[in-house]
């Protein structure tokens, strides 16, 4: 049995497998299918300072090897998370990471400040990459100046591990990664969804109420791998890789490209037990190839 422990900032994880925000609810939705305490961590649903109703239905379109979503950060707000959800998840014996989003820098900071007070939330993932909201979200993550401003504001008041989730909808993701590293991010997670669109030919109408949405699933894996590979060469902070991971092999590919940990997102919908299978598969791979620790594999791609 290889050592699966890894560290992200001050955070210590029993293995490098987390579940991705927006695909895993608050974890409890999956408690009938897996032992949540076997996960490295869970990044729970995107949370904003104030409640949000999200976008109108239809919010989802199935696409070849993936799906588009335009949920639009529907959530009941930081206060509700603190009072209603937190007491039910705080003793699950896994790392609970809250994905924090907002429309303004002040909202991001206030939401992060509230999360800072929760003992059993050892980290937040700052979402500057949601493509489905009119204000904020991806707008912050697609240029260096606004990315720097929001990370700086949050870093000032947030004392625990700060992960910044990056958007792939940029010309050069490494610029944004370097910028947030310089502002004190402890890690970056990438990629969020790719901006996409679905059209109903018969009705001659867009499928989503918002016209565009975020593409996820195995169809985006090659793009995600490339971006993790590039970012690994650009920053020193750890990378949490994601984008279309469906099995242990996909996860190993991300680790080889430079990810210290991985997140599993959309495939939770197809196999609610996939995350644990990935943990087991990584372990078997390490044993089979004679690695003592998963850390030895990070960025271990041999380019000849």
């Amino acid at each position: 049995m290889a050592d699966l422990n890894i560290n992200i900032g001050k955070l210590s994880l029993r293995n490098p497998v987390l579940t991705a925000s927006g695909t895993f609810g608050y974890g409890l939705e999956y408690a009938d299918f897996i032992d949540l305490s076997k996960l490295g961590g869970m990044v729970v649903k995107g949370t904003t300072l104030h409640p949000r109703e999200g976008n109108d239905y239809p919010r989802m379109a199935e696409t070849p090897s993936g799906m588009l979503n335009a949920v639009g950060l529907q959530n009941k707000g930081a206060e509700w998370f603190t009072n209603v959800i937190y007491p039910t998840v705080k003793d699950l014996n896994t790392n609970i990471i809250v994905n924090v989003s907002g429309s303004t820098i002040e909202d991001y900071a206030a939401c992060a400040e509230q999360m800072d007070t929760l003992n059993k939330v050892p980290a937040i993932e700052l979402n500057i990459s949601c493509p489905n909201v009119k204000q904020g979200g991806m707008a912050f993550g697609t240029n260096c100046k606004s990315a720097a401003e929001v990370v700086k504001a949050v870093r000032k008041i947030y004392h625990k591990t700060l992960i910044v989730k990056l958007s792939p909808n940029v010309t050069d993701i490494t610029e944004i990664a370097r910028t947030v590293e310089a502002e004190g991010a402890d890690a970056v997670s990438l990629i969020n969804t790719l901006l996409g669109m679905a059209i109903d030919a018969e009705k001659r109408k867009p499928v989503l109420s918002t016209l565009t949405g975020g593409l996820s699933g195995p169809c985006i894996k090659p793009v995600a791998l490339r971006m993790v590979y590039q970012t690994y060469r650009a920053v020193k902070i750890p990378i949490i890789g994601m984008g279309g991971i469906c099995n242990w092999k996909d996860a190993i590919e991300f680790i080889l490209a430079g990810a210290t940990a991985v997140q599993i997102g959309t495939y939770n919908f197809i196999d609610p037990a996939v995350s644990i299978k990935v943990v087991d598969g990584i372990n078997a791979y390490l044993d089979r190839h004679g690695f003592q620790s998963v850390k030895e594999l990070v960025g271990g791609l041999e380019c000849g």
Binding site: Y30, D32, G54, A61, N69
Partner: protein, 271 residues
């Protein structure tokens, strides 16, 4: 209610004209508790364009044979793939999902007191359209066990689309409409003469949205409690992704967990 994830074995796959199939499946052990109106999510393999599971409502639970029945309309690649499966094949199921229809003894029912009809059996009308008839067979069966008298009003485009008639007749009276008049009364279910001649105590409906809206309007005008079963497109089926939401008087809520069954007055339909 606990949810499960397991492989089930296909016992039968019966093609039904013109483009439906009836699949009967058994689990390894015993079938857990399931409510009429609940659904399963089926993993579809070997279909590149089908990525997500397919939500299919539970048509019937046959406890004697330890089988559930699924009535599937072949609409796209995923359902066509399902039509190809053979006895002995395995299907991976996520179940039972959603809330289910209110039954008389159900303490979690929506709080409507059901008026008793003269012979002291509440008369409940189950209105289905197209493949939306699927959950009503299981519902009719459960209602008949709980001292209700189910009546079915089933509508379809034409005679060939009226499915499983003999099964429905086991549990109550069956009335039908077809749009082309090839069987039963001609027209839509909401035009059927039974709605003018008989007063029902409770209405359940499942089918195309315009049909359910017309049924909900009839129920509202006649002050009859009405439950509708929605089929918004969904991804996870367990309340995690928030893709399948319906706008209700309490805001956007998940059809897969807080539905698919709603009392029609919870919704914001203009009726």
């Amino acid at each position: 209610m606990k949810k499960y994830l397991a492989d089930w074995t296909v016992k039968e796959n019966i093609p039904l004209r013109p483009n439906y199939c009836l699949i009967k499946l058994s689990p390894d052990g015993e079938i857990p508790e399931m409510m009429p109106g609940q659904f399963v999510q089926i993993k579809i393999d070997n279909s590149p364009s089908t990525f997500l599971r397919r939500p299919i409502s539970i048509h019937f639970v046959d406890r004697r044979e330890n089988e559930i029945w699924l009535l599937v309309q072949l609409l796209g690649e995923g359902t066509r793939q399902l039509a190809q499966i053979k006895p002995g094949d395995q299907l991976n199921l996520l179940y039972p999902l959603g809330n289910g229809f209110s039954l008389p003894e159900n303490k979690n029912a929506l709080g409507f007191s059901v008026a008793k009809s003269p012979e002291n059996k509440p008369e409940r009308l189950l209105i289905g359209g197209g493949v939306g008839i699927a959950p009503l067979l299981f519902l009719g069966f459960e209602l008949s066990l709980s001292g209700c008298k189910p009546t079915f009003l089933l509508g379809a485009k034409r005679k060939d689309d009226l499915l499983q008639m003999a099964e429905f007749e086991k549990y109550g009276k069956v009335f039908t409409t077809t749009e082309d008049g090839s069987y039963g009364e001609k027209g839509f279910v909401t035009q059927h003469s039974i709605l003018k001649s008989t007063r029902y105590d409770f209405i359940y409906t499942c089918g195309p949205k315009p049909m359910m809206q017309a049924v909900a309007e009839y129920a509202y005008k006649n002050a009859i409690p009405c439950e509708v079963s929605l089929e918004n497109t969904m991804a996870c089926g367990i309340g995690a992704c928030l893709c399948c939401v319906e706008k209700t008087k309490k805001g956007n809520i998940c059809v897969c967990t807080e539905g698919p069954v709603f009392n029609s007055n919870q919704l914001t339909w203009l009726i």
